[in-house]
């Protein structure tokens, strides 16, 4: 068998360098790779290419900081009844459902070949979001509970269908797609770089730094553009600030869901100065407008560095105080501990990433394994928790907030100066494939791009960490009380729009 191409994070290769193998070999290669725990699938997608369907699978080797890229090409007549990757490893399940929905591939042994997001350009235009094929149980003892798409709070839409035995959840099926805006198609039809950057900022508005960093790193790589230190600095600072801000907001929301009003108020107000810092830096509380390919409008001044240090000192004092109270209250721990458990085995089989994986003892953190930006300066240590429950995911947020402050304190005294001459960006290289991995606050974000012979985008693929992790939520709530669903959901805090695109 031809071995896959080997590339590093944020790099681009010629399309011809990716070996094209037969589908059977393609399947064997990737399924065998992922059998090794140091490997996981970061993206798997397909697109129309020279009258065929080209499939590209990207498996990250977390030990050697490389990504293994392989491909297969299918004739339009031979896309039915394929053997699935999923039958061999569950972590491919959503990728193959996506291939089924968007390109019409069918599998003879995929256990759950259901719609993903009812994309506007789906193959089966008769499939409608109103007729999603929910799993049913015939029993007079059990009942179903439907929640959404519109929820009680100010959150995005999605439908949750529970099958319950009394108060106990036996099964949860999550139906998404309500947020589908056609992001990936727009990446191709919007030709200006600024439009594409704006799109990247809007993939998930709570992960602006994460998705925009993935996009600009990928774009610069496609253009063969080495980013200056000050650009890397700004992106790294933005990513860690975003992590602190959203984690803090999530701690507030977890307090709200268990009725701990003081925690909700204090964590909520602690988020404010962090996002206001973005406001002072770039004029937008969620960092829209801050990250741009090849340049930066908002210099990180000495004055800003001083203010950030002061902010951390003030933040830490209040944060430690409320955390000290919060995590010792028996009524709080009673709600968080042993609730919504995802075992290590389950987390690994689903292919979870980011916080969800780390709360179940899986060392999965792109900052440590596939370094980018300035992360190599920190020698990042991956924090993991051992119980996979709501408490683990809560505690992990606390620990990561502290860690992010440690990282940022290390570098904000050494702000790189803007170069005297900034090289300008050229266009993307023709007939190339590029990949970019970024550790957003939720977890691993992966953007992939393929260009045609003129250097125009031929395909753009976005993968939000939520794509892997929604299934973990559905599994976590099994055998829990339905009243614990909100706290379970909040402990994952997954993205609807990041999934629906």
């Amino acid at each position: 068998m031809v071995p896959p191409a080997t590339i590093q994070n944020n790099s681009t290769i010629h399309l011809k360098e990716i070996p094209v193998v037969g589908y059977e070999d393609f399947l064997e290669t990737n399924v065998n790779l992922i059998g090794d725990e140091t490997h996981h699938c970061v993206n798997y997608f397909g697109f129309h290419y020279q009258n065929k369907i080209k499939l590209i699978c990207c498996i990250a080797n977390d030990q050697d900081a490389i990504v293994l890229i392989s491909s297969a090409e299918l004739e339009p007549g031979s896309i039915q009844g394929l053997p699935s990757f999923t039958a061999r490893h569950l972590s491919f399940q959503l990728f193959e459902r996506e291939l089924h929905e968007s390109l019409g591939l069918t599998y003879n042994d995929h256990p759950w070949l259901k719609p993903v997001r009812y994309a506007f350009n789906r193959v089966d235009q008769n499939a409608s979001i109103e007729n999603y094929p929910f799993y049913k149980i015939k029993s007079e003892e059990l009942h179903e509970v439907g929640v959404g798409p519109i929820h009680a709070g100010i959150i995005e839409p999605g439908h949750f269908r529970f099958i319950c035995n009394g108060e106990q959840i036996l099964h949860l099926e999550i139906q998404l797609g309500y947020q589908h805006r056609g992001v990936e198609a727009l990446f191709l039809s919007r030709k200006k770089l600024l439009q594409r950057t704006t799109l990247a900022e809007s993939i998930s508005g709570d992960t602006v730094a994460g998705h925009t960093t993935a996009f600009v790193n990928l774009w610069e790589s496609l253009c063969g553009y080495p980013a200056d230190q000050d650009l890397k600095f700004a992106r790294t600072v933005a990513l860690e600030l975003e992590r602190i801000a959203i984690h803090t907001g999530d701690l507030s929301a977890i307090c709200t869901d268990i009725g701990y009003q003081l925690g909700s108020a204090v964590f909520g107000r602690l988020r404010t100065p962090v996002i206001n810092f973005f406001q002072e830096w770039c004029g937008n509380r969620l960092a829209k407008g801050l990250i741009r390919a090849g340049h930066n409008h908002f210099n990180f001044s000495r004055d800003l560095a001083n203010r950030l240090e002061k902010l951390f000192d003030d933040y830490e004092r209040d944060f430690d105080e409320i955390w000290g109270e919060f995590h010792t209250l028996p009524t709080v721990l009673g709600r968080l501990e042993k609730t919504g458990v995802v075992s290590r085995e389950l987390a690994a089989s689903i292919g979870t990433v980011g916080m969800t994986a780390r709360a179940s003892v899986i060392m999965r953190d792109i900052r440590a394994t596939h370094a980018y930006g300035l992360y190599d300066l920190f020698s990042p240590i991956t924090i993991v928790k051992h119980h996979g429950d709501v408490y683990s995911r809560t505690r992990l947020r606390h620990d990561e907030i502290i860690q992010s402050m440690v990282y940022l304190r290390k570098i904000i005294r050494k702000v790189p100066s803007e170069p005297k001459v900034r090289v300008s960006l050229s266009g993307p290289k023709p007939e190339s494939f590029g990949i970019s991995l970024t550790e957003g606050w939720r977890g691993e974000i992966c953007h992939c791009a393929v260009t045609d012979e003129k250097g125009e985008l031929l395909h753009y693929k976005v993968k939000d960490p939520s794509m892997h992790n929604w299934l973990a939520l559905a599994m976590a709530v099994r055998n829990n009380e339905i009243s614990d669903f909100p706290i379970c959901n909040k402990s994952f805090d997954l993205s609807y729009c990041g999934h629906d695109l």
Partner: protein
């Protein structure tokens, strides 16, 4: 218990005392000012990612603007974003800021339904519907209710059920898949009811305008009571806009808002 009380004391009062005159720190991009400086108009129009810049005369449509500020960086003598966050209005055409004299964006009192101030001035309950929203406006709407902005002090709150609401607040570019749920939600709100569009995506589709995954027909069939621009909206823009909408007006005469 003692720990909790200590925290309460240490935190003290966190809310912004004067919500209508608060100042936003840093380089906020609010209502722009367009000078009559001669520039390469085509280049300026071409620059905008969403086509929010219109030429002869030069105008910026804040209902379509992503507030990225790129136009102001490229043509600093022509366009400048001020820190005026009071950008909400009930007249869509007032979101189009024209070249020349800077004017604050205000509501048109003649367009406000009489029952709004009659019923809602002291208490307005809203149901939020995200229809393809990217969760940025949603985060900011949540922030409106936190201890800093404390919108609840004005009787304005988000509620869990449309049946308890006086109106709906829509974010996002209105996706096809949300068309039916949005209509159902609106129908479930008892009369009289209002519609507020929050954020550029909701007002015009923003960067998603023209995407085949959208269905904006809801807006063809219903009158919008308030447009709140931003990407995402700033909580101060939202709260001040809503306060302007529901406040009691004497004699229905146009009032001049104190500009900031």
């Amino acid at each position: 218990m003692i720990g909790n009380i200590k925290i309460l004391v240490h935190q003290g009062m966190q809310s912004i005392p004067d919500i209508t005159n608060a100042e936003i720190p840093g380089p906020f991009r609010g209502t722009p000012v367009i000078t009559s400086e001669k520039v390469d108009e085509r280049a300026l129009v071409e620059l905008c990612p969403t086509g929010a810049i219109l030429s002869s005369p030069m105008r910026i449509d804040l209902g379509n603007c992503t507030f990225c500020g790129e136009c102001a960086f490229a043509f600093p003598d022509k366009i400048r974003f001020t820190k005026d966050y009071k950008m909400a209005t009930n007249d869509r055409s007032r979101l189009i800021v024209a070249e020349g004299k800077a004017q604050p964006i205000m509501l048109d009192p003649d367009l406000i339904k009489r029952e709004i101030s009659q019923f809602f001035k002291g208490s307005l309950k809203l149901r939020q519907v995200s229809a393809g929203g990217d969760n940025s406006c949603e985060l900011e709407l949540n922030a409106c209710g936190n201890v800093n902005f404390d919108m609840g002090r004005f009787g304005i709150e988000f509620v869990a059920s449309p049946r308890h609401a006086d109106g709906i607040v829509i974010t996002g570019p209105l996706t096809e898949s949300m068309a039916t749920p949005l209509q159902n939600c609106y129908d479930a709100v008892p009369d009289p009811k209002i519609i507020i569009l929050v954020g550029t995506d909701a007002i015009s589709g923003g960067i998603f305008a023209g995407s085949l995954a959208l269905n904006r027909s809801f807006l063809d069939n219903h009158k919008v009571d308030l447009y709140v621009p931003g990407n995402p909206v700033h909580p101060l823009t939202f709260i001040n806009g809503v306060l302007e909408l529901i406040k009691e007006r004497k004699n229905n005469l146009a009032e001049h808002r104190i500009s900031t």
